[in-house]
C-alpha cells in the first residue's frame, strides 16, 4: 500500500518534469539531473517513466545512471558528508578527514549509516581550493578543515 503511494507520487512528479522536455533521446541526462536533484537519488519508478517517454530501454538508462558519478540509485543519508579529494585538498591532508569520517561512522564512502542519518561521499574538487582542505555537510562548507572540526561537526549532527 505504502509502496503504491510512493509510486503514485513519483508518477505525478515525473509527469511535471517530463512535460518540459521533448521526447528526443539526448534529453536523458538533463532529465536524470533534474530527478537526482529532486529526490537525492533516481528511483526505479522514475526510470520507468523516463523509459516510456524517451523510448529508451530501462537497461540503457540504468547503464547511463551507473556511468555518471552524480547519479545514484539509493537515497543518501540525512546528513551527507562530502569530503573533497581534489588534488589541492588531498595534498593538504583531506585523506585524513576521509579516514576519520569512515572510522567514526563505521561506513565506507558511498554508504549510508543503518539509521539513515549519515552518508559519506568522496567528491573531486568542490572548487573551493583556496580553503583546502574542505568538507561539506549537505550544503554547508567547512574550509581549512581539521580532523577536530570534522569530529565536532559529526558530534553536532549526531545529537540533532
Amino acid at each position: 500500500m505504502e509502496v503504491n503511494c510512493v509510486n503514485e507520487k513519483i508518477k505525478k512528479d515525473m509527469a511535471e518534469i517530463l512535460e518540459k522536455y521533448t521526447d528526443q533521446k539526448d534529453n536523458l541526462i538533463a532529465i536524470l539531473n533534474e530527478v537526482q536533484e529532486k529526490y537525492g537519488y533516481i528511483p526505479q519508478k522514475a526510470q520507468l517513466e523516463i523509459s516510456e517517454k524517451l523510448k529508451i530501454p530501462m537497461a540503457e538508462i540504468y547503464g547511463v545512471i551507473t556511468f555518471y558519478s552524480r547519479f545514484t540509485t539509493e537515497p543518501k543519508g540525512k546528513y551527507n558528508i562530502s569530503i573533497c579529494l581534489g588534488t589541492a585538498c588531498f595534498v593538504k591532508g583531506s585523506g585524513n578527514l576521509l579516514d576519520r569520517a569512515k572510522e567514526r561512522l563505521k561506513i565506507n564512502s558511498g554508504e549510508v549509516t543503518p539509521d539513515g542519518k549519515f552518508s559519506i561521499d568522496e567528491v573531486r574538487c568542490v572548487g573551493a581550493c583556496g580553503l583546502a582542505p574542505v568538507f561539506m555537510i549537505n550544503n554547508e562548507v567547512y574550509g581549512n578543515a581539521t580532523v577536530k572540526m570534522l569530529d565536532e561537526a559529526i558530534d553536532k549532527y549526531m545529537n540533532l
Partner: protein
C-alpha cells in the same frame, strides 16, 4: 528588446563612463563601488551574506552614491572573501559579514581605511591597493580581463568593456576565411591540454560540407584542483558566448552547446542569465545585428564523469549516452555531434578569441614564446601561500609562479615538486623549477601543460602516495571501453597499493614501468594514454623514494601509514604538551613536564603532532 548596433554603442558609451572608476584610479566621480567576489570560493565563505549586509547598512544610512557589485573571482582566493572599494582600489581581505558595518562607517562615511582588514603581503608589508600586491605584478590578464571587474550578471557592464564589439567587427569587416587566418596567425593553441592550434581546428570544420555544423564549448573541467574555466564562466560568461558566435560564423555553424559540469551551480546559473540577456538584446538568435547571421547557444549539463572532458566522450554525453570515447578518425571536425562537423574548444581558448579579434593577431603573438603564444591561466593550489587563479605570459618559469606570484611555500618548508596537468600530467622536481612554462618544455620534462591545474607540494609529501592518488582517480574514472586502460590502470594501482602498504618488491617497480608503457601505447583515448604519466614522472625523478618504500619498508614523510610509526624522541622532548593538546584522538600520554609518549593503538598517524612540536622531537 532587440537592440540595433547604434543602441548597443549608446549603452557602451554611457556605461563605460559610469564604470570608469572600476579600472581608473583617478576617475572623476562622486560614486564608489564596493566589489565583492561572488565566485565559488568566496561564496563558500559567506560572500553573499557580505553583499546583503553592505546593501542593508548603506540603505540604513541613506547612502546613495555607493553601489555594491558582485563580481567574479579576483584570483587571490587565499585572502577571500575579498572586498575592493573603487576607484581608490582599497583591498580588504578575509572580510566577514560582521565587518561590513565598520567598513561602511570608517571607509565610506569617515574616509579612512580599516587598517586591520588590509591585506598583508608575504613579506609582511601592508598593502593598500590591489595592484601593489606581488601576486598581481607579474601577471598579464587577457582571458581573465573582465573577471573581478564587471558584474557577470549584467550584460551592459560586459558591453561597456568592448563586449560584443568583436562579433560586430567580424560580421561587418571580415570573411570567415579572414577570421580563421587571423586566429591562425595569432598562434592560439587549445588551452584544454593538448595544445592543438585553434585556427587549424576551425579550418578543418570549415572545409566540410554539411547542412548543419556545431560549436561546442568544453566546460567539463574535471581535473581535480583546477578551477580556471569555472572562474571564467562565473566572472565573464559573455566573452565565451561571443567567441562561440565568432567561431560559428567562421565555420558556418548556427548552433552552439556549452557542456558544463553540473557540479558548478554558480557557473551554470551565470551562463543561463548571460544567454537570456544576449537573446533579449538580439545578440544571440536569428539575424544578429540584422546582418543575416543566425547563432544560438544552449547549455548541456555533465554529470560527473572525468572522461567526458575528452572530446568524443563529450559528444556521446551530449547525445544522452554513456560518455565513452569514439575511435578516431573520423575526427569531430568531420563527424562530430549527431554525425555533423563540430568544433570543440575549451573555455579558456574561447575567452582569448574576442581579444585577438579586437587587438589583432600580431599583438597576441608578441606575447609568449616561439611555439606557445599568449598567456595561460593556472589554478595555483596545494602547499603555496597565495592559493588562487593566476594568468601569466607563456614562458614564465615555475619559480616565478611559485615564489614571486605564489609567495612561496607556507611555514618556510622546502619545495619538493609541482604537479601540472592533473591526472594526465606529471610531477616537476626542484631541479627543473626554472623551466619556462610552454607546451614543449613541459612535455620534454615528462609533464604536460594540461588544462592549468598547478599543485605545489612541499617536502612533507610522499611522491609514491601522490602517484597512487592519481592512479586511484584514473581507475575510478576509466570508462571501461578499452582493456589497457580499464584493466591496466587497475593493476598499476594494485602494485602501488602493495608498495605503500609495505609489501612491495623491487620487481614491482619494473612491472609498473612496463605496464605504464603498454597503457600509454594501447589505450583508445587521451585518458588512458596519459594515465601512467604521474607514475612515470615520479619514477623518473623520485625513484629513490620508491626504493625506500620497497627495500627499507619506510615512508620518510609518514604518509604511508602501514610503514611509518610515529614516535617521540625522549631526548628532544621538553614535555611542553603542545602535541597532546593538538592530538585529535587523545593518543598522547603524559602529564605536566613529563616526557610524552604515543599510544600506537590509538594513534591514527595523522601527523598533527609532528607539525605541532616546536622542538622537532616527533618522527619515526
Amino acid at each position: 528588446m532587440i537592440k540595433t548596433i547604434k543602441e548597443i554603442e549608446e549603452i557602451r558609451k554611457q556605461k563605460r563612463e559610469e564604470l570608469d572608476l572600476r579600472i581608473n584610479i583617478n576617475a572623476k566621480t562622486k560614486e564608489k563601488h564596493i566589489l565583492v567576489c561572488h565566485g565559488t570560493g568566496c561564496t563558500s565563505s559567506k560572500s553573499p551574506q557580505i553583499i546583503d549586509n553592505f546593501r542593508k547598512i548603506l540603505g540604513e544610512n541613506n547612502i546613495t552614491n555607493v553601489r555594491v557589485i558582485q563580481t567574479g573571482c579576483f584570483g587571490l582566493c587565499a585572502k577571500g572573501p575579498i572586498a575592493i572599494i573603487r576607484p581608490e582600489d582599497t583591498f580588504y581581505a578575509h572580510v566577514k559579514p560582521e565587518d561590513c558595518e565598520e567598513i561602511i562607517k570608517t571607509h565610506i562615511i569617515e574616509g579612512n581605511t580599516v587598517d586591520r582588514l588590509l591585506c598583508k603581503d608575504i613579506d609582511g608589508t601592508i598593502v593598500k591597493r590591489l595592484d601593489e600586491l606581488n601576486f598581481y605584478k607579474k601577471q598579464k590578464r587577457i582571458a581573465l580581463k573582465n573577471c573581478g571587474v564587471i558584474d557577470p550578471e549584467n550584460i551592459d557592464e560586459y558591453i561597456a568593456f568592448d563586449g560584443y564589439k568583436s562579433i560586430y567587427k567580424v560580421l561587418t569587416e571580415m570573411t570567415p576565411d579572414q577570421v580563421i587566418e587571423e586566429i591562425s596567425k595569432s598562434g592560439l593553441r587549445g588551452r584544454g591540454g593538448a595544445g592543438f592550434p585553434t585556427g587549424k581546428k576551425w579550418s578543418f570544420a570549415q572545409k566540410e560540407q554539411a547542412e548543419q555544423k556545431y560549436i561546442i564549448c568544453n566546460a567539463d573541467e574535471g581535473d581535480p584542483g583546477a578551477f580556471m574555466d569555472r572562474s571564467i564562466l562565473e566572472g565573464d560568461p559573455h566573452s565565451v558566448i561571443e567567441a562561440m558566435a565568432i567561431a560559428g560564423y567562421s565555420i558556418g555553424a548556427t548552433q552552439g552547446y556549452i557542456y558544463v559540469r553540473a557540479e558548478y551551480p554558480i557557473a551554470v546559473q551565470r551562463l543561463k542569465i548571460a544567454i537570456n540577456q544576449a537573446r533579449e538584446y538580439g545578440l544571440l538568435g536569428k539575424n544578429i545585428f540584422g546582418l543575416g547571421f543566425d547563432f544560438d547557444v544552449d547549455i548541456r549539463l555533465g554529470a560527473g564523469a572525468f572522461v567526458c572532458g575528452e572530446e568524443t566522450a563529450l559528444l556521446e554525453s551530449i547525445e544522452g549516452k554513456r560518455g565513452q570515447p569514439r575511435v578516431k578518425p573520423p575526427y569531430p571536425a568531420s563527424k562530430g555531434l549527431f554525425g555533423k562537423p563540430t568544433v570543440i574548444n575549451n573555455v579558456e581558448t574561447l575567452a582569448n578569441i574576442t581579444r585577438i579579434i579586437l587587438n589583432g593577431a600580431e599583438w597576441y603573438s608578441s606575447i609568449g614564446t616561439e611555439t606557445s603564444k599568449g598567456t595561460k591561466v593556472f589554478a595555483l593550489g596545494g602547499n603555496v601561500n597565495n592559493v588562487g587563479l593566476v594568468e601569466v605570459p607563456m614562458g614564465t618559469t615555475l619559480r616565478e609562479i611559485i615564489y614571486d606570484i605564489g609567495g612561496g611555500i607556507p611555514q618556510g618548508k622546502a619545495f619538493k615538486a609541482a604537479q601540472t596537468g592533473g591526472p594526465s600530467g606529471g610531477c616537476i622536481p626542484a631541479e627543473h623549477i626554472d623551466t619556462p612554462i610552454d607546451y614543449e618544455s613541459l612535455a620534454q620534462i615528462g609533464s604536460m601543460m594540461g588544462s592549468g591545474g598547478l599543485i605545489v607540494m612541499d617536502e612533507t609529501k610522499c611522491m609514491v602516495d601522490i602517484a597512487r592518488f592519481y592512479l586511484d582517480f584514473t581507475v575510478s574514472e576509466s570508462c571501461g571501453k578499452c582493456t589497457p586502460c580499464r584493466i591496466g590502470t587497475k593493476r598499476m594501482l594494485e602494485l602501488l597499493n602493495k608498495i605503500c602498504d609495505g609489501n612491495g618488491e623491487e620487481e614491482d617497480i619494473y612491472k609498473l614501468e612496463k605496464l605504464a608503457h603498454i597503457i600509454q601505447k594501447a589505450s583508445i583515448c587521451g585518458l588512458g594514454q596519459t594515465a601512467p604519466n604521474p607514475v612515470l614522472s615520479t619514477l623518473k625523478y623520485f625513484r629513490d623514494e620508491y626504493r625506500e618504500h620497497v627495500l627499507a619498508r619506510n615512508c620518510a614523510t609518514y604518509t604511508c601509514k602501514a610503514i611509518s610509526t610515529i614516535q617521540i624522541n625522549p631526548e628532544k622532548c621538553k614535555g611542553c604538551g603542545l602535541c597532546q593538546r593538538k592530538c585529535p584522538v587523545n593518543a598522547i600520554k603524559g602529564e605536566g613536564r613529563e616526557i610524552r609518549t604515543i599510544d600506537p593503538e590509538k594513534c591514527i598517524k595523522c601527523g598533527t603532532c609532528i607539525q605541532a612540536c616546536p622542538f622537532k622531537a616527533i618522527g619515526n
